[in-house]
């Protein structure tokens, strides 16, 4: 475990991690969670195939599940934070039962609630998200602490036969916010149009 260590600042930079995940994304569909991971995805490039959550905390992984079931021909990546994942922890049990082969979940874990004043989250204390995912039935998990690990996970997103789960330890620094559109109807409709789901 890395949490509570004085080496916190040497954790991965979140923007470096998201760049690796979304560079050369191909036809990847992306769902981001309320807060920093939405700004992270927008920092790489706004894309019609990103569905950014600006609310509904705890929803990201389940939105990814519904999308992955609906579109078995496409790869779906959920990128969310530790606080957002903790609020929807039951959804890991639900997804563990379904495990669609085209879904990947990446949790950017800085052990803190970054948007509300950097209060410690449960992952800075006792909770191990990898252990939770494994206990819920995820057979392929990645506990990532460096860029090489992110690259390895990114490659697996394109080539697995089951839902995969990564915890990516990132530093608790807050890079400048990059805000994507926040009109929910716009985000929904352009996403559907971009993947031909609006017919």
């Amino acid at each position: 475990m890395i949490s509570n260590e004085p080496r916190l600042d040497q954790r991965l930079d979140r923007r470096a991690a998201i760049r690796i995940l979304l560079e050369n994304r191909g036809d990847l569909l992306v769902v981001t969670g309320l807060g920093s991971t939405t700004w992270d995805a927008a920092s790489v490039a706004d894309d019609e195939r990103n569905f950014y959550l600006w609310g509904a905390m705890g929803a990201a992984a389940m939105v990814g599940l519904g999308l992955a079931i609906a579109r078995p021909d496409r790869r779906v990546l959920v990128v969310t934070g530790d606080g957002e994942m903790l609020m929807g922890l039951g959804s890991l049990a639900t997804i563990g039962v379904q495990c669609p082969p085209n879904l990947a979940i990446a949790v950017f874990d800085n052990g803190h609630y970054g948007e509300t004043g950097m209060q410690a989250s449960h992952t800075a204390e006792t909770v191990d998200l990898i252990g939770v995912a494994q206990a819920c039935g995820f057979s392929e998990t990645f506990d990532i602490t460096d860029e090489l690990g992110v690259r390895d996970f990114s490659a697996r997103i394109r080539g697995t036969a089951t839902t995969i789960f990564a915890r990516i330890a990132i530093s608790a620094e807050e890079p400048p916010r990059v805000l994507p559109p926040r009109d929910g109807v716009l985000l929904k409709n352009r996403f559907r149009r971009a993947i031909g789901a609006d017919t």
Binding site: A61, V63, G66, I69, G90, A93, R192
Partner: protein, 178 residues
């Protein structure tokens, strides 16, 4: 309600399922309830449907948002107590105008034995309406399928959130002592 076999018509639960098929429902999220047992069975058995058991009802609101983003229609089966679990998630449904139809079996009203069911059951409709969900209530078996079909129509044609409350009188009060 009568005996469906004797009446020589489909049971109202089977009629609701036919309405779901007619509306091309592909994903069915559910938290089990005795009143939904038949619909859950039928959904699980249908190769064109994906039945997804949820740990909490709010997961289903998010599931169906994802389904719609991918071009599939879904529905959500829950008990009235589960409506309370959905409140914050319904903010996404409203903000993004995701179509939604929730089929809610009622507790805490007709001949309820368990007083712990009453606070949520007696406020289910009001809570949904506070969240701008259109609510339709079914008290008679012969209205069930038609009401569900109407709710699905308005939801998917208008990008609106709807709920159909299947009343406890329709379902029959839970028997605690057999």
């Amino acid at each position: 309600m009568g005996d469906p076999a004797a009446m020589n018509v489909l049971d109202w639960r089977d009629q609701i399922f036919a309405a779901l098929k007619q509306a091309e429902i592909r994903q069915v999220g559910y938290v089990p309830d005795a009143g939904h047992a038949r619909l859950i069975e039928l959904s699980q058995a249908d190769p064109a449907m994906r039945a997804v058991p949820l740990t909490s009802e709010e997961e289903g609101v998010a599931l169906l948002a994802g389904a719609w983003l991918g071009g599939q229609r879904g529905t959500l089966l829950m008990q009235s107590s589960g409506v309370g679990n959905c409140i914050n998630m319904l903010s996404m449904t409203k903000t993004c105008r995701f179509p939604l139809t929730m089929l809610v079996t009622m507790r805490g009203e007709w001949a309820e034995f368990n007083p712990w069911q009453v606070p949520m059951g007696s406020r289910t409709q009001a809570a949904l309406e506070l969240c701008d969900v259109l609510v339709y209530r079914v008290d008679r078996a012969e209205d069930a399928a038609e009401t569900v079909a109407a709710a699905l129509d308005i939801a998917f044609n208008g990008d609106l959130a709807t709920a159909v409350l299947l009343s406890q009188r329709l379902l029959g009060a839970k028997r605690w002592v057999k």
